[in-house]
């Protein structure tokens, strides 16, 4: 399985290079439209990937078939995981290339954006996220479903409770928020179940002894899975609870957002190295206590005379606060945009944890075993 995955990984990165450099698709990530360079990259892509795939087709049948296992088993679940992740990647590729394919076939011009990817990616990843809780406690070769259900009953109960309780205690609830919290609860509670299951693996040893001998790869997996839960909480919290206000402010006015008070203290003209700007000072406080001071700017660069908005951001573990100047409405009032985004840095934190988990897994000694 690793050989085709390696070919796929490199091929996709070459494909990505081609897509953003050649101007073949319009996207926020495409930063050059150079069809000539595109021809070269396409040629390179064709040569490398084509020959790898031909080589694979020639040599693959001689590869080893491996051991025996049931469909419901750790091996089976690992393979299902591969299939689901590949399909999710294929779905993203499909959405990216579809406008191009339709255009090439003269079937019209459509555009594919965020709503499509959300609508498709979430249902595809949901089974994978569910299996994330089941896979690690499945036995190799054969794992009776009853046994799995018994071990996971507490995790299932915790997830069900979170789904029922959430709409009652949260100030605003939508099915998406409920779903996000459900999955995050499932991942965390099944993770705890896995850890306890491992701790009890050898009844004649203590929990600590059992956990100490687990390989680095095991902890890498736990950290990475936890990272997924953190990521999902971040996305759910921001989508469900972020607030955005468009307000008219003058010196002295206060605006509230997300429980914070934003007071416009001053507006002054400043000069930067290659620009002139209007800089606003905003004092941010919560319940009377000062939190931070933000300095958003509206800059005009000397060379191009282009106006640019520099937003001021205060990042925190549980929220980001964001102020940006809009346009002057009259001599004393400006339109100002204020955002409160809860848990948005957890999106980054979750990805960092996933990477950390991967790194831990790489340090596992089993990947560096020597022949006996």
């Amino acid at each position: 399985m690793d050989c085709p995955l390696a070919i796929l990984a490199f091929s996709l990165s070459l494909l990505g290079t081609f897509l953003v450099r050649s101007g073949v698709i319009t996207s926020v990530h495409a930063f050059a439209t150079d069809p000539e360079r595109g021809v070269f990259i396409l040629g390179f892509l064709g040569l490398i990937v084509g020959s790898s795939l031909l080589l694979f087709a020639w040599r693959a049948p001689k590869a080893n078939i491996g051991g025996n296992f049931e469909t419901v088993s750790r091996e089976g679940m690992l393979l299902v995981n591969n299939v689901l992740l590949l399909v999710a990647a294929a779905a993203v590729l499909l959405g990216t290339l579809y406008p191009l394919i339709l255009d090439a076939l003269n079937l019209g011009k459509i555009s594919v954006g965020e709503p499509y990817f959300e609508a498709v990616f979430v249902p595809l990843m949901t089974p994978a996220l569910f299996l994330m809780g089941v896979g690690p406690i499945a036995r190799w070769r054969q794992s009776p479903p009853i046994e799995l259900a018994t071990k996971l009953k507490w995790a299932l109960a915790a997830s069900a409770i979170s789904a029922i309780v959430a709409p009652l205690i949260l100030r605003s609830w939508t099915p998406m928020i409920g779903f996000g919290l459900l999955i995050a609860t499932w991942i965390i509670s099944s993770g705890v179940t896995q850890l306890i299951d491992r701790a009890r693996i050898n009844p004649s040893k203590t929990w600590w002894q059992n956990l100490r001998i687990q390989p680095a790869g095991y902890y890498g997996m736990l950290v990475a899975h936890f990272g997924v839960a953190v990521f999902i909480i971040g996305v759910t919290a921001v989508r469900g609870f972020e607030t955005e206000q468009d307000v008219r402010m003058q010196i002295g006015s206060v605006s509230q957002s997300g429980g914070y008070d934003f007071k416009m203290v001053s507006l002054k003209t400043i000069n930067g190295p290659n620009y002139a700007a209007i800089q606003g000072q905003f004092d941010v406080s919560k319940n009377g206590k000062s939190v931070t001071t933000l300095f958003p700017e509206k800059r005009i660069y000397n060379a191009s005379q282009m106006p640019m908005t520099e937003a001021a951001i205060d990042s925190g573990l549980t929220r980001d606060l964001y102020v940006s100047l809009g346009e002057p409405i009259n001599e004393s009032e400006w339109s100002v945009r204020i955002y409160h985004k809860p848990f948005v840095d957890w999106i980054w934190g979750g990805c960092f944890l996933m990477a950390l988990g991967g790194f831990l897994a790489i340090t596992d000694r089993r990947y560096r075993k020597k022949e006996a």
């Binding site: 078939i65 019209g108 555009s111 965020e114 595809l124 468009d246 008219r248 006015s253 206060v254 006996a372």
Partner: protein
Amino acid sequence: MKHLFILLAGLTIGFVTPGVAFAQNNTAPLVSDNPALEKRVLEVSNELRCLVCQNQTIADSNADLAVDLKNQVRQQLSEGRSKQEILKYMTERYGDFVLYNPPFNAATLMLWVGPFLLMLLGLIVLVRQIKQRKQELSKETFSAQEIERARQLLDRKLGNQ
């Protein structure tokens, strides 16, 4: 004396009231007069692609055309048109490309259904492969020599443990 009192009262009220009023008016008002309408404008705008900055919706884009189209949306919404009617208005003039969410029709069927078909196909192929492999392995037989060699290897390995 009465006049002085009235004067003082008047001055006091005259000075205090604006102070109180100012303190209360300190809270910044929203830019739009009709936040409910603005919310709907945002909702519809988030489904229309900006044709100038083609990676953004007209809600996010600052291009002139985006502002013009947003005003169109606002005007039509306040006239009572539905979201569907407004989207139709836009596609009549700019084609399907202006829809941020691709339409569901014969040409885009593969787009919407494709990923799920692929998932189904992948899982079916996988399960069949596993069952097939099980059958193949159970049919595998080993010669007496191979079994003897396996036993020797195992003994050596376990002996050296």
